[in-house]
Amino acid sequence: MSALLSGGITFALGCYAVASVLVLVRLIRGPRAQDRVFALDLLYFHAMLVMLVLGIRHRSDMYFEAALLIALFSFVSSFAMAKFILRGEVIE
């Protein structure tokens, strides 16, 4: 792996880390519940991107399945929480 690619990977991972910290600030500050749900969805998304980039870094396919699972859990949890805020229950 050349220095170019490893530098790009490190830069991307650093960007994801900084972006996750910014989103975490929004998650803590709120102000309303929908902001927190959206911030949690974005944190899941950043974790999924980190998994994909680590898969490129270690030349492994296993990270891809973890990324797919994280995307699935992100959808289910955000949808369930939004539904709960909207209607008061998840499944009516």
């Binding site: 790009g8 830069f11 309303r32 929908q34 974005l42 955000s78 939004a82």
Partner: protein, 117 residues
């Protein structure tokens, strides 16, 4: 396991760097914009460009490593393009519903009139 040519590594690095920049910009917008409805827009940049760049980098790199067309990172793009348009409008409806319930005046009225008893 093949040796990857330099231009492929450069292309993958450029895709990863642009994905990182897109995600960072969207996170800054998500933190700084003042209202929830404004705040919903910057993550769309990350959801589209961020995931597309990373998935295309994965497709390019693994195809070059294994000397065959490795297309499974497209599943990430397909999955996000199905799920994100379901969660974000639902969250927008959540925000609208809660503001209506709180009695805000600067929001549009409901499209259908409320059902009476």
């Amino acid at each position: 396991m093949n040796q990857v040519p330099l231009w492929v590594e450069a292309a993958v690095a450029a895709l990863l760097v642009s994905s990182g920049v897109f995600v960072l910009v969207s996170a800054v917008g998500f933190l700084r914009l003042p209202d929830f409805f404004l705040r919903m827009h910057p993550p769309a940049v990350a959801y589209t460009f961020g995931s597309w760049c990373v998935a295309l980098a994965g497709v390019l790199y693994f195809s070059m490593i294994e000397s065959r067309a490795v297309l499974h990172p497209w599943l990430i793009i397909i999955m996000l393009s199905v799920t994100v348009p379901m969660t974000t409008p639902l969250l927008a409806r959540v925000a609208l519903f809660r503001r209506r319930a709180a009695g805000a005046v600067d929001i549009p009225p409901p499209l259908t009139p409320p059902r009476g008893p």
